[in-house]
């Protein structure tokens, strides 16, 4: 489904991705962990075609997204749902209008059909009654949930979550993780989550990859990652002071 091969990217001479290789199969949920500023979001932006790599390829269902432009790129992106780090809700639209936006612009559904879908999505993410509010009037957790509803509203085949729980309290973190699990059960999408949420992410992801110094240093099931002897993985999971990860 997603095949990343030897992906390299530098900014101003500084190598951020140094040959990333990663393969994600259909309906699998993979989490990518790594220290802040380590290139996780940059990797995500390559997979969704916002950034172009210096080298390497990203195959989505066999098509290299790094070489596509215009309508061809849009066609691949129709398979995507993306939850951005800050939510990226449109400021000028209400929560309801934000969630309805992809349906209104990309499908031929009637106004009533869109309303039904949006109201159901609002209920699913626990935002019943908040549809009329604007992004500036709601809390960070509500914004993330609204953004999650927008990402899932078109029933995408692949969903990307860029730090869906960063900056939220533990109760909301738990509820967002539950929402992702429920949505995955309901829609059966392939998921890629960028997160540092330990141990919560172990409950959500099928496999976990650790990005360090621009490469994936370890990938495995949550159990394998927890039992890993790799010093980078051990330090990252325990949050230890001593180890190969500089801080």
């Amino acid at each position: 489904m997603i095949e990343i091969t030897n992906l390299e990217k530098s900014f101003d001479g500084q190598k951020v991705l140094d040959g990333v290789n990663l393969s994600i199969t259909e309906k699998e949920v993979v989490a990518i962990m790594g220290k802040s500023g380590g290139g996780k979001s940059v990797l995500l932006k390559h997979i969704i075609g916002i950034l172009k790599p210096d080298k390497g390829s990203v195959l989505i269902d066999g098509t290299d997204i790094t070489t596509l432009r215009g309508r061809e790129l849009d066609k691949i992106r129709e398979k995507f749902g993306v939850l951005f780090q800050g939510g990226a809700l449109f400021d000028s639209l209400s929560v309801y209008q934000n969630i309805a936006f992809p349906l209104k612009e990309r499908t031929k559904l009637s106004k009533n059909e869109i309303r039904e879908k949006v109201i159901r999505a609002l209920e699913d993410v626990g935002l019943k009654g908040a549809g009329k509010k604007y992004p500036a009037e709601i809390s960070g957790g509500m914004r993330k949930r609204a953004a999650l509803a927008r990402a899932l509203i078109t029933g995408p085949k692949i969903v990307f979550f860029d730090e869906p729980t960063t900056g939220l309290d533990p109760v909301i973190v738990g509820s967002i993780h539950r929402l992702i699990l429920d949505a995955h059960k309901q829609y059966g999408f392939t998921g890629l989550i960028i997160s540092h949420e330990i141990p919560g992410i172990f409950e959500v992801a099928d496999r976990i990859a650790l990005l360090h110094n621009g490469v994936i240093v370890e990938i495995g099931t949550p159990k394998e990652i927890q039992n890993s002897t790799n010093p980078v993985v051990k330090q990252f999971i325990t949050g230890g002071h001593e180890g190969p990860i500089e801080h």
Binding site: L89, D91, R106
Partner: protein
């Protein structure tokens, strides 16, 4: 010396590259103007945005520009005993030159800066990326409506500026300086030709494109150079206003030379 030349060369290449990038951006914007689906609702909202933000400033600056012009020109004309030509002098100065230029500068400061800041915030908060990943072209949704709105709004605001300016000049000439109302307007009718109005219209149209182009470009690529977050937005806004203002004056000279 060698290092200085190398730095100058690098600066020139960077500026030329940016200019090329800006022209590709403008070309893309015009391309999408003619490709459906058209976003009429967003276009109407942006027409309102430009008009609503700038109307009061245009009324105020237009009135005072006409008044001061009338006052200054009156004393100059009196030296030659030609006070009767005050009306045409005020009208021609406003219609051909001051109206388009001053109103474009005012709209740049008022609506252009707000436009860059708004698009810049959309960029740094990933709203533009969100549009792209919903498989919707951000150029069509954000840039094209602003360029088309500016093409409609700038000539209208300039016309309002000219009208208010001429009446501002009338108040000073007739009520303060004692010129007869008939002289002020009748001479104007004799001297102002349709060609003068057409020149003013061409100027305001092209200024509209320049302002929307520069302000949208700077907002759209906020944070791509140096700067981050709020700093990047403030830097983009300042650059947009300065660059638009300089380009308006340079283009005014070139257009004036060609159209005269």
């Amino acid at each position: 010396m060698g290092r200085l030349l190398a730095a100058l060369g690098a600066w020139t290449i960077a500026k030329l590259r940016m200019l090329g990038h800006m022209f590709v951006f403008l070309f893309n914007s015009f391309y999408f103007i003619f490709i459906p689906p058209f976003k009429f609702r967003i276009l109407l909202r942006q027409i309102r945005f430009f008009g609503n933000k700038s109307l009061v400033v245009i009324l105020l600056t237009g009135a005072f520009a006409g008044m001061v012009l009338s006052l200054q020109v009156f004393y100059t004309l009196r030296k030659f005993g030609s006070e009767a030509l005050l009306g045409p002098a005020v009208a021609l100065s406003l219609i051909r030159e001051l109206g388009p230029v001053l109103s474009a500068l005012m709209v740049t400061g008022r609506a252009g800066s707000a436009l860059t800041a708004e698009i810049g915030v959309m960029r740094i908060s990933e709203q533009i990326d969100a549009l792209a990943t919903i498989a919707l072209n951000p150029m069509r949704y954000i840039i094209v409506p602003n360029i088309v709105a500016a093409i409609f709004v700038f000539p209208l605001l300039t016309a309002i500026f000219d009208l208010i300016g001429i009446y501002g000049g009338y108040v000073v000439a007739v009520k303060l300086l004692g010129l007869s109302s008939g002289t002020y307007f009748s001479q104007m009718e004799n001297f102002v030709a349709l060609e003068d109005i057409r020149i003013g219209l061409y100027k305001s149209l092209s200024f509209g494109v320049i302002v929307a182009w520069v302000c949208c470009y700077k907002g759209y690529f906020t944070g791509f150079g140096r700067g981050f977050g709020a700093t990047a937005v403030s830097k983009a806004t300042t650059e947009a206003v300065v660059m638009s203002s300089i380009l308006i004056l340079i283009w005014d000279y070139f257009l004036g030379s060609v159209l005269l």
